[in-house]
Amino acid sequence: MSKIFLADPQSCDVKIGRLLETFETKVKAYPPGTCPLTVQLSLLVASKNQTCGKCVPCRDGLPQLEVLLRKVLEGDATMEVLEHMRSLAAMIRDTADCAIGYQTATEVLDGLDVFYEEYESHILNHECLGGMGQKVPCINLCPAHVDIPGYIALIGEEDYAGAVNLIRKDNPLPTACAMICEHPCEQRCRRNIIDDAINIRGLKKYIVDQVAADQVAVPKANRSTGKKVAVIGGGPAGMTAAYFLGLMGHKVTIFERQKKLGGMLRYGIPNYRFPKDRLDEDIRAILSAGDIEVRYEAKVGTEIPVEDVYEEYDAMFVAIGAQAGKKLRLDGIDAENVESAVEMLDRIGNGEKPDYSGKNVVVIGGGNVAMDAARSAVRCKAKEVRIVYRRRQEDMTALDTEIESAVMEGIELITLQAPKSIEKTVEGACSALIVQPQMIGPYDKAGRPSPVDANKEPQRIPCDVILIAVGQDIISRPFEEFGMEAERGVFKAGLDTAVLNKPGVFAGGDCATAPATAIRAIAAGKVAAHNIDEYLGYHHKLYCEARVPDPKENNRIPTGRANITERPAYIRKHDFEHVENPYTYEEAMQEANRCLRCDHFGCGVLKGGRDA
């Protein structure tokens, strides 16, 4: 008789595996606006069901925690129930044998602190805190709250101009977002429940590939209000504010330090990711909205006193971005050919392409700027390009797709190596980066594992050029001297972008958040424009002529997400031309047809459901 057996491929564990994948997607698609206590309950039930049943605290204690939490949610609890939950959870945390018990209890305890007010509201008022209520995931998670289901439906109708118009209702940079948006809108897409998130950025790109933004007329501007608004900084935040303010009828002056508008979209993001002629399409459209004047190479803070601008204009929007590359304190940092990645990208943006022929380039950092610098170095004919990062690849803040593309283009990632010093030749040129090997350690307060020095000898990475991409600083000093409060250079502004104690001054974008994404800057520009309008005494509502088509029946057939392909690495790495291939008509239509129209089906028709 046989004594031992292979694992049964038809076993329940195998089948559960598939179910668990579905479960994962369900979690991924948790709608925004959900009461945190219900999420806490889902987590608790999931954890409770993982018990092996051995130990009392976990097997019998977690179900009792669930009973108590349900009491709170059912409006059948007093404040004593919270104390009871806390003491029971603390006991489970202290006495459970394995992580299934103690980690679950820890999560409940954390939740009791983080969501204390929510608990209180449920117990005392038998309802959620204000502002709770399910919302359309993509619209809500887009910082600018663009009507995504609406423009996807317009794609289905082949009304691309309508789609551009609808996007511009909330975001005047459709081309920029089509090319480089990090698409937070896709995060909790309800389509995840069926197969995968809609490729929203891909669809948006299809729109602007069919009709250029500057070929779609912007709405007619309101009649002039006679008010003058200064926008300092012509990046995504500044241009967005200018666009909406212009449409409202205010006279806008953009003070741009560079020769052209765009900010980091032009001078940070390389052409191969976002071709500059495409950026110009957005800019031309924006500048056609009302009375917008641009003063190029106008350096507010150095050549033009901030005070003067403040005095001359009725309101001022500070959107100066984070333009200065952070410095590293390393021995030998003064060596020749050691440069900040931001400066290198800025030079390329200004048309001065460095020639790295035959050179070994090392980029320090793990963010998107590091990837941009490394991939640009490849295109500047460098012999070899390496990225040195002190954490692990999975800790890099760059988008996974960016890292993947960099690797495909032949860039080597050297991880867990912290820069220690820069070796110089007698002539003062950089000859190597000396690095200290690291090991990954415990998580820090921000929730990322921190590296610590490994018990290994420092290593030498020979190189001719070093590009430093370890973050960006905001050139905030002149504005701080003017009286704007800042913390570590980041301007303090409310969620309405208004600057405290400086009436009429608003701030947004990278300079008020620290380096973030284009879409967050665009959102700040939109919020600032509306609040400046209010500040100036108006309540303008902007007109949009695009109409959202009626929804069709949901397509319930699981269908793969249509990814955007790229030109092969062996070709694209020799030029700065755009790396992405356009969608075909069929791809775009299939992708658009996957949209579940949450603006119509489900919470979208509830009062507040569409609200951001």
Binding site: C55, V56, R59, V67, M91, R93
Partner: protein, 353 residues
């Protein structure tokens, strides 16, 4: 040797000792419920949790080894509170019909609840609706799931000590259940009916059915040796009103508290049978009936008859066969008598029943 401190007392302990053993060595009592040394050290009940300086969690004393310099508190407020909560949780799923429970007065859960002042659970049990049938088709043993605290003592006793693996662990959703082999199909299971599971059970979940005939506090214990085979298992006869009502395994050198089905369930109930011979009888040759005699009369008769046989036919004509239920000492005495008095080597013992 490891030096540690328990409740302010300096303790020297062996390197392989647990906190529980180290505490016991200085007479500090730490409550346990699921723990059975070397049989069930899985730490499932968590009653033996203690506070150890420098540890975030409250480790279980039963399966945490001592460490040099350890500072242990066995009765801190945090520990007491945790134990009370555990008892509350256990009690929430435990049927509290103690009056009708045969284990009343001997139940370890009952004793700990009494000690920690837990009279009513503050919880409503979450597994109460899972109705498992009572299993009582077995002639000696029965299982009451509503009394089970899922400590696994029975499972591990059956698997590791008895070696039968007749009691297994089942599942119903997220709950564990004990698959006790006492249902209608009991005679086709691996169960040998030894009852070591019932002795291991800290509550009244698994009991010998005869336990219903007495209350623990009405009885006295008499330590004796099992009369069945030559293993020499030590056992306590449970005596009520001068009658043996039950048997429990005692910690003897050869049995360590265990008994087999014969020792536990087949070694005492004949004592008070009506047809038991309680005094010597000699057959009246005239009537053919047995008649009561004195021990002297009876022994004299037997001695004279054996002597006669030996004189007439020699010792080889005689043999002595000892009963396997006799103790080793009695068997030894018998063979000695056969060799020296009978003058014969014809002696043996069946040594098994």
């Amino acid at each position: 040797m490891i030096c540690l401190n328990i409740d302010g007392i300096a303790v020297e302990a062996g390197e392989d000792m647990t906190i529980l053993e180290a505490a016991q060595s200085v007479n500090i009592r730490i409550p346990t419920l699921c723990y059975m040394k070397e049989v069930n050290e899985i730490g499932s009940c968590r009653m033996c949790v203690v506070e150890v300086e420098g540890m975030n969690k409250l480790p279980t004393a039963c399966n945490t080894l001592v460490k040099e310099g350890m500072h242990v508190q066995t009765k801190s407020e945090r520990v007491i509170e945790a134990r009370k909560t555990i008892l509350n949780l256990l009690l929430s799923n435990h049927h509290r019909g103690c009056f009708s429970c045969p284990q009343n007065g001997e139940c370890e859960l009952q004793e700990l609840c009494y000690e920690y002042g837990v009279e009513e659970s503050r919880y409503v049990g979450t597994r109460k609706k899972i109705e498992r049938p009572v299993k009582d088709s077995h002639p000696f043993l029965c299982y009451h799931p509503e009394l089970c605290i899922h400590c696994q003592r029975c499972v591990n006793t059956c698997a590791k000590v008895t070696g039968r693996k007749a009691i297994t662990l089942g599942k119903t959703g997220m709950f564990n259940i004990i698959e006790a082999p006492f249902g209608a199909d009991w005679d086709t299971t691996l169960c040998e009916s030894c009852g070591n599971c019932a002795q291991a059970c800290p509550t009244g979940a698994i009991t010998e059915k005869r336990k219903k005939n007495y209350r623990g506090w009405e009885t006295k214990r008499v330590r004796t040796t099992c009369p069945h085979c030559a293993t020499g298992c030590q056992m306590d006869l449970i005596v009520k009103d001068n009658k043996i009502v039950d048997v429990e395994g005692a910690d003897g050198p050869s049995n360590h508290g265990l008994l087999c089905v014969k020792g536990r369930s087949a070694s005492f109930d004949f004592i008070d049978q009506e047809d038991r011979i309680r005094y010597p009888l000699i057959k009246n040759k005239d009537t053919g009936e047995f008649e009561r005699a004195t021990w002297d009369e009876a022994l004299d008769l037997v001695a004279s008859k054996f002597t006669e046989l030996r004189e007439n036919y020699g010792g080889e004509a005689l043999a002595g066969f000892a009963c396997s239920r006799s103790t080793n000492e009695d068997v030894y005495m018998l063979q000695k008598m056969v060799r020296t008095v009978f003058e014969s080597n014809n002696t043996d013992n069946c040594a098994r029943v």
